[in-house]
Structure formats: C-alpha cells, structure tokens
Amino acid sequence: MTRIIQSFLVILFAVLFCTGVSRANEADSTATEGGISENFNAGKFVIEHVSDSYEWHIATFGETEISVPLPIILYSSTKGWNVFMSSQFHHGHETYNNFRIEAEGKDEGKIVELNDQGEVLSLPVDLSISKTVAGIFVSVIVLLFIFLSIAKSAKQRVNQAPTGMQNLFEPIILFVRDDVAKPAIGEKRYERFMPFLLTVFFFILINNLLGLIPVFPFGANVTGNIGVTMVLALFTFFVTTFNTNKHYWKEIYNPEVPWWLKYPIPLMPIVELTGVITKPFVLMVRLFANILAGHLIVTVFVSLIFIFAQLMGIEAGLGVSVISVAFSVFMLLLDVLVSFIQAYVFTLLSALYFGMASPEHH
C-alpha cells in the first residue's frame, strides 16, 4: 500500500515539474523589495483563494508565479471544440487562439471569444477542467483508492476481524448505516439507499478534509463551490422524487388540513411544493456556506499578517503573524470538526428526506 502511495506521489511531482510548472516573468508586475507587494489587496487575495480558476496556483515568488496548468475545453459556434492547456494564457495576461480570460466587466474571470480586431464576440461553452473539477478528480482518486482497497480486503478476509484501513472506516460505515440510515429511513427500506448515502457522506467528508490541506494537489475548494453542492443536492432531490409513494404526493397536493387552506386558494399545496424545492436548496446552501466560510476565515487570518505589514511595517506583520497563525490553527481544527459535522448533516438530512418520501400509511 505504501508503494502505491509512493508511486502516486512520484507521478504527481512528475506532472508538477516536467509538464506542469510554468513560470511567467511579467514586466508589469509591481514587486518591491522585501517581497511584499505594495498594493496587497486582501479582498482579492481572499476571494481568489476560494473561487474557481483555470490554473492551480501554488505559489508566487516575487515576479514568478508557480501554478499547475489545467486543460481548457471550449466549444464556440465559430471554431468548434478547442482543447488546450491554461498555460497558453500566461496567467490571464495573453490571448490564445482568440480566447482570453476577461479581467473586468460583467464576465470577469470567464473565458471570452474575440474576433480578429480584438473585440469580444461571445462566451464560448466552457467545459474546462477548472481547479474545482481537478480537485474533484483528486478526491475521487482518493475515494476510489480507499474504498476499493477496503472492498478488496472485505472480500478476502471473510468473517475475520478487520485490519488497517478497513478497521478505520468500518465504524464510520456502520455509523452511517445504524445511526443515520436505519433510524431515518426504517429497517425495511434503508438498504437501497445505503450506496448513495455512503458515497455522499465520504465524498463530502474527503473533499472537506482535503480542502483543508493547503498543499497541491489538495486544498481545492470543492465542497465550498456552489456548483458541486448543487449537484449533490440535486442527486438527493432526484433520489427522493424517484422513491416516493402515493402518500407523499397526497401530503403535498391534498394534505389533511381544514378545507379553507386548500380551496379556493391552494395555500397548503403551495407551501408543501415550496418545501420540496427548499429541502435540497437548503442542503446545497448549508454545505457550501459552511465550507466556504471556513476557507474564507483562514485566508482572512493569514492576509491580516500582510495587511498589518503593509500598514505598519514588516515588524507589525511579524507580530500579528503569531496571533494570526494561532487563530488559523484554531480555525483549521474547527474546520476539521465542521467537515465531519457537515458530511453527517448532509447525509442525515438526505436520509430523512428519503424516509419522508414514502411515509407509512397512517
């Protein structure tokens, strides 16, 4: 197993140094002595760290930016499919093949297509492997590696005590089964939802935890991206909707309430239908907001150092760094807790919705 991890790391560093690392020397970058940019913009710094991007930024040394380029996949009506690496954009400073990352305006940060005169034509269909998508890939590799090896040992060591990784994850799997799925869905029906609940739980948990590791290839803000949580919530929504029985729909369209709440204005049906939509919506927002807030707050504490250094000199920055680091560590530890709690809450609520989708007749 250690050999697999080793080879995994070797491949990663090979990718990083042979094909990936691009260095850009920019004439227009404003660097000063002491390594601190004079116009340090804390807001931009924080937002850039939590938002998606076309390259995986690792570090900036003075004038040199080190980042891993990611594939850009575009479809435009004029040029068809375009696939190239984001290093062609030179960190957004150059135009490639009439495509450019817009620096300002309403489409800031998006790729736009230009005509030969350099005017913005349109927005191409953008299916790029952005930092978030790359982060999803990394976490999925980790997820598959962990659980396929557990499945292997589960198949080989029949009726034996679990060891190693199996031993570590089995209590969590049992927790999801016995304390989440069984009470929320019921003894009879819980089994068909187990694969989804377990996948969602571990997908969220692993992404939350990997998002806290600030070293490439981890640290992408995956579960703090609203698109990702939206898909997770949509899965819950569709699984719920496809596993309903007639009592569920009766509760929505014709609930047992006084008649004047239903006729002539269908007040309760409207409320109930809204509930169907708000449930996954709340799932989406809760996970997104919690993880995003965790990332934001750690980055804010770190950028405090630079704000103080800029305002009152490097000594002030060093002084503040002690407090900042202490708070960042505290927040990171809190985020570890939040990672588990959010994975649990998402899974528990999904399970509750599944349980409510086919209530027992009463």
Binding site: I47, V50, S51, D52, E108, G109, D126, L127, S128, I129, S130, T132, V133, I136, F137, V140, L143, L144, F147, L148, I150, A151, A154, K155, V158, N159, E170, I173, L174, R177, E191, M194, P195, F196, L198, T199, F203, N225, I226, G227, V228, M230, V231, L232, L234, F235, L292
Partner: protein, 164 residues
C-alpha cells in the same frame, strides 16, 4: 460575488464524475463491504447463539449426569442393603442350623447316656444277683451246718442290698 452563482462547467463535470463514482462505488465497494459487514454480524450472532446453545447443552448434560449419579448412588445403597440383608439371613440361618445340630448332638448324647445307664444298671443288677447268689450259696453252704440265726442274718443282708 461570482462564487455564489453555480458554474455550468463545474456542474457538468460534477454530474459525470459523481455519477460514475456512485456507480463504481455502489458496484465494487459498497456491495462487498456491506455484505461483508452483514455476513460478519450474522456469523457473530450465529456464534453467540451456538455458544448459548452449547452452554445450555452442557447445563442439561450436567443435570443428566447428576441424575445418573444420584440413581447410581441409590442403586448402590440398595445393593448394599440387599447384601447386608442376605448376609444377616445367612448368618442367622447358619446359627440356627448350628443350634439345631448341637441340640441334636446333645439329644443323641443324652439318649446314649440314658441307654448306657440303663445297661449299666442292668449289668449291676445282674452282678448283684450273681453276687447275691454267690453269697447266698456260700452262706447256705455254711449255714447248712450252723444255726438258724445265720439264716436270719443273710436275709437281713439281702434286704440291705436291695436297689433303690
């Protein structure tokens, strides 16, 4: 606030990746893992049940053993009692027989003694008669030439010799 608007590219990839991961994990990870968990739980509960059963069996066996031992003890007591009875009976019989035998011997001895006594008395009587005849013969021989007084004397002598 760009990051609160979901990006369709991310949604697209996330749908594909999550769908595939869900499928792969469902088929190749969760199915065997959950099955293994279930099997292990089943085997543990089976083992516990069989241990409980074995415990009950042993307890039953012990009770049966106790019963057998108690029965054996009872039988032993019975046999011992019988043996003692038989012994007592034999001893009593032997004693009775011995008594009877002794009685018989004594009786026989007594009869013998009685017979011997009768024979001895008869013999004595015979000898006395002979002696008397002899005495009488001698006296008569003498008296034939002596006085009548002696005759009287003989008679008195004979009187004395009379048996009881």
């Amino acid at each position: 606030m760009g990051f609160v608007t979901p990006d369709y590219g991310t949604i697209f990839w996330m749908l594909i990746i999550f769908g595939i991961v869900l499928f792969i994990l469902k088929k190749f990870a969760w199915a065997p893992i959950l099955k293994a968990l279930k099997d292990r739980e089943q085997s543990i509960s089976d083992a516990l049940n069989s241990a409980e059963k074995a415990r009950k069996d042993v307890a039953g066996l012990k009770a049966a053993n106790d019963q057998i031992i108690a029965e054996a003890r009872k039988e032993k007591d019975l046999i011992l009692k019988e043996a003692r009875d038989i012994k007592d009976k034999i001893v009593a019989e032997a004693k009775n027989q011995a008594n009877a035998e002794a009685q018989k011997s004594i009786e026989f001895a007594r009869q013998q003694i009685a017979a011997e006594k009768t024979a001895a008395i008869n013999d004595i009587k015979k000898q006395v008669a002979e002696l008397s005849v002899l005495i009488a013969e001698k006296v008569i021989k003498k008296e034939l030439e002596k006085s009548k007084d002696q005759e009287v004397l003989v008679e008195s002598l004979l009187k004395d010799l009379k048996l009881k």
